[in-house]
């Protein structure tokens, strides 16, 4: 069992500015290959160093699905397994190269009620040993109140998700 927190965290117990416990992971060559195999993403930059170099990247690197899973785990470890990811925005900066040691830091940026359910916004940064910034993620989470179960609020959360998707801009990806 992970030493990090998997408890059920209630919406009323959190505040803007709360910081999440940092998460550090070694992304070995083995892990990058595992990444390719388990996500079925055989874009050659994830398993062939020559191809990665032809992309202008020094060696093989982890894919987007790994970053999604890493940042999801980072926030849900803190928020508890009963929390629900309504929306996740992920901006990639520098690829995570095989051999890297990365650390995720994050904090709460907003706590609100929307459609009558408890919503929390978090921003996280995954960075490397030399301060290299690999990605920034923004998670919108539902956190339960009291004895609330997801099944009780399913339709209201669907409305929050629809609103989040409508607000997600398809433009402005940066350079």
């Amino acid at each position: 069992m992970s030493p990090r927190n998997h408890a059920r965290r209630l919406w009323a117990s959190v505040s803007p500015g709360d910081e999440l416990p940092a998460l550090t992971m070694t992304v070995s060559y083995e892990k990058v290959i595992l990444n390719t195999a388990v996500t079925w993403d055989y874009m050659p930059g994830h398993f062939d160093p020559d191809y990665a170099r032809s992309q202008g990247v020094p060696t093989i690197y982890a894919n987007t699905i790994f970053l999604q899973g890493l940042t999801d785990r980072f926030v849900v470890d803190w928020a508890g397994r009963d929390s629900f990811i309504v929306h996740r925005g992920l901006s990639m900066m520098q690829p995570i190269l095989a051999g890297a040691v990365v650390t995720a830091h994050g904090s709460i940026t907003d706590v609100r009620s929307e459609e009558g359910v408890g919503i929390v916004e978090l921003e996280s940064v995954v960075s490397g040993e030399q301060g290299v910034k690999h990605c920034v993620s923004r998670h919108t989470l539902w956190l339960p109140q009291a004895e609330e179960k997801f099944d009780d609020v399913r339709q209201r959360i669907r409305l929050v998700a629809e609103s989040s998707s409508a607000a997600a801009s398809p433009k402005g990806a940066g350079t």
Partner: protein
């Protein structure tokens, strides 16, 4: 310098910017995953991310809360990936994703941004379906990897027995012409 080992089926077609822009608004057919969401793949994925969430390792434990057995949201794209060898063709199943298949000047691809909304958990034991639409192609930009275009698609995901969207995701990737680092061959 060793001989490049580019023995892949991964080929990105090139073309003019105008040819690429002609794809704007194009959608794929609805396509279906090759197999249902399943516990074996979930556990391997959790091994990758070192995720101890018991709702993934012991799926029945999550049913009282979710109303169903659930899978990690990060696996959404994985469920629609093509299998790597097909007995009828002897080749990988064709990729259905639009952005690497559309013509543009660059033949290199790297992902830069995703925005994904989940309307409910992705259930275990169900076969997902998806449809992708090309929604934006940026003007040509200079980037640290080389000149290219930011291509954004919208994918809507469905389960096999429900016409309501279960998740939707904007994905932006960079199609570019690689500029090899100084002093290296390319």
């Amino acid at each position: 310098m060793t001989e490049p080992s580019h023995q892949h089926d991964y080929e990105v077609p090139t073309g003019s910017e105008a040819e690429g822009r002609a794809w704007l608004g194009r959608s794929t057919e609805m396509f279906t995953a090759e197999h249902p969401t399943n516990t074996a793949m979930v556990k391997h994925y959790c091994a990758l991310t070192e995720d101890a969430n018991t709702h993934y390792w012991d799926p029945p434990s999550g049913v009282p809360h979710w109303g169903t057995e659930v899978t990690p949201p990060g696996m959404l794209t994985t469920w629609l990936m093509p299998i790597r060898w097909n007995p009828s063709s002897g080749r990988p199943s064709a990729s259905r994703w639009l952005a690497p298949r559309m013509p543009l000047p660059g033949d290199r691809v790297i992902n830069v941004r995703t925005e994904t909304s989940f309307r409910s958990p992705i259930p275990l034991g169900r076969t997902l379906r998806a449809q992708e639409e090309l929604v934006d192609v940026s003007p040509r930009r200079e980037t640290r990897l080389g000149p290219g275009y930011f291509v954004t698609t919208l994918v809507r995901y469905f389960t096999d027995d429900d016409e309501e969207v279960v998740a939707e995701s904007y994905n932006t990737l960079l199609r570019y012409e690689s500029v090899a680092p100084e002093g290296e061959d390319e």
